[in-house]
Amino acid sequence: MAAHNSKYPGLDPIPPPFGKEFPPVALIVEEKCIACDRCPPVCFFDALVMEDRPDHKYHRTAVVIRENCTGCGLCFEACPVEAIIWVPDTEDTKPKTRPGDSTVKDADV
């Protein structure tokens, strides 16, 4: 995949190869993070916060709160140094849903 040379860097490839098995979630590569504060405001699911890291080059780094991450991909776009990567959420064992699968049987509406 030469996606890095293409017009849309950041998500390489789109979606990630494990995407059919596990839900992708974001992860910050802390060594790459430049503590620019750009990713927390774009996250609408409160999944990104800045944390203090005294031993970090910039003394701070962004951190993903995995339970909140919906894998929307917007923080990848906000990161100027590509410090955010996709990782499989192996703890998520919920079944995948395809169009047509109805999961509302138990909803009393």
């Binding site: 293409s6 017009k7 774009v42 991909g73 917007l74 776009e77 990161c79 169009p99 109805s102 909803a107």
Partner: protein, 343 residues
């Protein structure tokens, strides 16, 4: 000098509304919107059970195109490419969401629904009203709607049925296109209280490197600051032909855009992309700039300038034109230049 605006009988503290989308998807965002003094919040659209699959989101579902990462969101003409679809919960979750919003927020809450047959539309809209929504927006132009649903057959019936059944105001959200004006008139005739112009439209993009469609290989909703120019026109056209108020949306990222929409006759302006990419603080910037403009121009209420630009709009017949160059004689004779072209 105040930003207060009256819209659908509701007194709003600002003409800015949060448009339906990820920035109005849970209760905490409603709190953030309230902190930013937004006028009202249009909640994320909920789909009827028939479109249950639209409640499950693929990952990733957003892509920013033409976005310069290095300048951190100052890119002026980006595109937000989104395959997000509907509210990611059951109908029951949505009713509780509306209730929670109403319990904790003082800002007006607008429910947003999507269905296909008129009965489902009515049921969803009634439930929104029952749970306390101050108005209901019918998202008939969702970029993710099935193509088999068309305005004339499906949506007119839906608007009619919902308007008859509801006590709260009904907004109809339309997408840009050649039929917008007709659809505005039809919505007004059906008794809608306002129209929202314009929804994002269905778009598509391909990565030439992998030679594949980007994201998940299907059409997605596209929108961004470039979308404002045709929406300006649709708002101007609609403002001159319908009497119901217009809630403008599409590409508004700065106070200038908001002012332009108001000058063209919009009552309120819904914003979303700018909140998504630049954070909630962009709202206070817009409010600040809006107040600055009003101060500079000596405006006390936005009502004074609403539709002002339309009053001096001209018509094609009245545009002063000059005849062009004479087309007979030398300028109409083909003279090959030596050394160039065919001999």
């Amino acid at each position: 000098m105040a930003l207060t605006t009256t819209f659908l009988g509701l007194k709003l503290q600002s003409p800015l509304l949060v448009a339906s989308g990820p920035a109005s998807h849970d209760v905490n965002q409603v709190r953030l919107a309230e902190e930013q003094h937004m006028g009202a919040i249009v909640l994320k659209t909920v789909c009827s059970d028939k479109y249950d699959h639209m409640r499950y989101w693929p990952r990733p579902r957003y892509k920013l195109l033409d976005w310069d990462k290095q300048i951190g969101g100052r890119s002026k003409y980006f595109t937000l490419y989104s395959y997000e679809q509907g509210y990611s919960g059951t109908l029951k979750d949505y009713w509780e969401f509306i209730k929670a919003c109403k319990d904790h927020a003082t800002v007006p809450i607008v429910g947003s629904v999507f269905a296909d047959v008129a009965e489902d539309w009515k049921e969803l809209a009634l439930k929104c009203q029952e749970n306390g929504a101050d108005a209901v927006e019918l998202d008939i132009s969702s970029p993710h709607r099935p193509g088999s649903l068309d305005f004339e057959t499906t949506f007119i019936a839906a608007i009619n049925t919902v308007v008859k059944a509801l006590r709260v105001p009904v907004l109809v959200k339309l997408a840009a296109g050649p039929d917008v004006l007709q659809q505005c008139k039809a919505a007004e005739k059906c008794g809608a209280s306002a129209v929202t112009l314009c929804n994002r439209i269905r778009g598509f993009d391909v990565d030439i490197e992998t030679q594949q469609p980007i994201l998940h290989g299907y059409y997605a909703g596209v929108g961004g600051p470039w979308a404002k120019y045709y929406t300006f026109r649709h708002v101007a056209e609609a403002a001159q032909s319908i009497r119901i108020p217009i809630s403008a949306t599409g590409g508004a990222t700065t106070a200038e855009d908001v002012i332009k929409y108001i000058l063209l006759g919009a009552s309120t302006v819904q914003i979303l992309s700018v909140i998504m990419v630049n954070g909630w603080e962009s709202v206070s910037q817009i409010h600040h700039d809006l107040k600055g403009y009003m101060q500079q121009k000596g405006i006390h209420s936005l009502e004074e300038i609403r539709g002002k630009a339309l009053q001096v709009m001209t018509s094609p017949e009245d545009i002063i034109r000059w005849s062009g160059e004479p087309k007979t004689g030398a300028r109409n004779l083909w003279k090959p230049v030596e050394g160039h072209g065919r001999s």
